[in-house]
Symmetry: D5
Subunit: 94 residues, 10 copies
């Protein structure tokens, strides 16, 4: 099932620079592993913001929450999730 | 270039039913032609709403505005456009 | 899967009273059939508003959208959907 | 009487990790005791957020405020409460 | 139990003047009967607006919703309800 | 003259606990003295929030501002003030 | 006592042009009479909007509400009122 | 002096098509005359919306309000005006 | 030219008390000097808030920005500026 | 292609004054170099705020994001980007 997700990142200015760099690096690895698995098929940067729009393709709500709450940057993010249904005009719809 | 677009449709309740049906049918044809051309690669229904999230892939701002303002339902829509850049974690990025 | 849904009803003041009464009656029957099927396990009135909070338990996003867009009052409603995951403190969670 | 409650948790990043772990553990125990008593019949995680939707079933406003203000995480929460009435379409209504 | 209620009245400009006058008159009578019964102990006009803040003192949520949804102007109102608990600094609290 | 006031309290998490306890105690005494004087006839706790709705009955705007800005918790509060007029349906109105 | 008032005018597009012209003319006369009386000492047009910021100087809340609700355009306005106190830096303050 | 202006156009769906076409044509002529005079140096379409961002260069507030309120589409627009000062990093600043 | 300005002051709780007192004293002196010069003809306290509504009468946008950005409390303020035009109903208008 | 950008700067009060001064100086140099290159043709100060409206003229979304995320003050800014199309009334349009 598909979900539309917006993530806005707000890392505190006083976070230790090494902790910050390590967390950002782990975030990237975590995201890329999920992209390779097919569960995170799209991620786009919102121009001018430390934010992204993403599409997730997972089995159910619990799996999505487990993935999102496991993001290394989760504690510093505002996340909003929108469930997506097939659009009747979609040429790829059955 | 990629753009994220949200469209919310609000057709007036007193619109003539035939005009309405005709406009919705033309909207579908218009959308599917653009999907086939590759300019409108994704369209998803937002669950529970007469709304969609879409991704457009067009040459520039003027082409996107020409496409959106030509939507048969344009007069009844609220549209918001967000330009998308490549995300540094995207495994498909160069 | 569980979804939290808020519905706000705004029937136009100039709607024909018979159409209105018929639509509201069909809405009630439609809702009760879904409640009996187990797909709409909870519906509560928000005090002082022509609105409800509901819980739906359906197979996937497409089924939920089909149900919601089929509501006889759908054209007169604002609907917002929130996917629900198991809470780690829930005593009924596995 | 039934109340719909949304809780959004924002624990300060610089809270002592032990204090944090202890508070979260006490929150869970506190919640589960109330669930077992029947006063907190539903708790759901909002997907992607450190938030929940809950239903409380208590005697009156004062009891609900006593319960909510006694939450170990209360100081770090935004809470909004909505009183719920019986919905006329509810098949379980008298 | 006490509830804080805000009511904002928006009567459509094209409502028949006699219907309007009759509805407003019935609203006043309805309100005053409830004031005399003790269920609607306070009603104040918000300066400059066709709105009021009110305090209701009723048995439970269902009674309040029955009262509010029975207001002759209900169809033309936006209403928001807030449950009130005893304040620990209230000199009249037990 | 009557004023409707909403107060939302946000005490910083890192405030010295003794300062906090002392300030809260002084706030209570200050409020109760004003209640006894008749200038603060109503104070209600908003269920689930560290907030109150209050009614003040004072001579003029300057007196109200002097009272509110003198609250021991003033620096930690968001306050919004609404002037109240007599409602034409009020059974106690002249 | 001084009040800060913002008025936003929204006259329905289908209002009879003569009714409109007559109402606007009466509004102007009503306003100018109050300006001459000293009760409406300032009125400024907000650039680009059919709106104004005004200062009223009246005896009390009831007088202000009587004045505002008597505006010929009252039914077509959104009005918000803010009570003003003496500023401690005001060189004209006692 | 420079002003930043956003205009959002909402023409009622039931406006007579000839009136609409005539008004839009007069709007274009009015705008172009002001552009040629140097008072309206920039006008950009907001992609996907019936809206524009514009820059005006006029003598004072009264002139800007006279220009904006004289727009043939003024009755159907929401307009917001922001005064602009010289930016200290502007390479064209004195 | 006239401008309507709202200022909301938020001094950080951990600011050194002497710095705070000194800054507030300089703010008062700065404001009063501008009031005496005629450039800041009105300043009113918003009841219950650490905020003011002010009217400025200056030569142009640059002068206003220079004045506002020079306020000793500028770094701790949210400021919003609205340009004011002559109102057609103003009895003092030419 | 043209983009409308709003930047709001919020530098933390406890930032080291030398770091702050250095960052602001680098911001100015960075901006002026881009202005000279023609990629940042307009920058205006919003009166009364530590904010600007800017127009960028760059090749594509990725270039704009690279420029904006490279701003020395980027970590302390809220930025919102709007793509601009040619306006049909623009006298300079083809």
């Amino acid at each position: 099932m598909l979900y539309h997700v917006r993530m806005d990142v707000n890392i505190p200015h006083d976070l230790d620079p090494e902790v910050r760099a390590d967390t950002v690096a782990r975030e990237k690895a975590y995201s890329q592993e999920l992209q390779r698995s097919g569960k995170w098929p799209h991620i786009w940067r919102i121009v001018g913001e430390y934010s992204n729009y993403s599409i997730f393709d997972v089995a159910d709500h619990d799996e999505l929450h487990m993935i999102l709450s496991g993001l290394p940057l989760f504690a510093y993010m505002d996340i909003s999730v929108t469930p997506l249904a097939t659009h009747p005009s979609d040429i790829n719809a059955g």
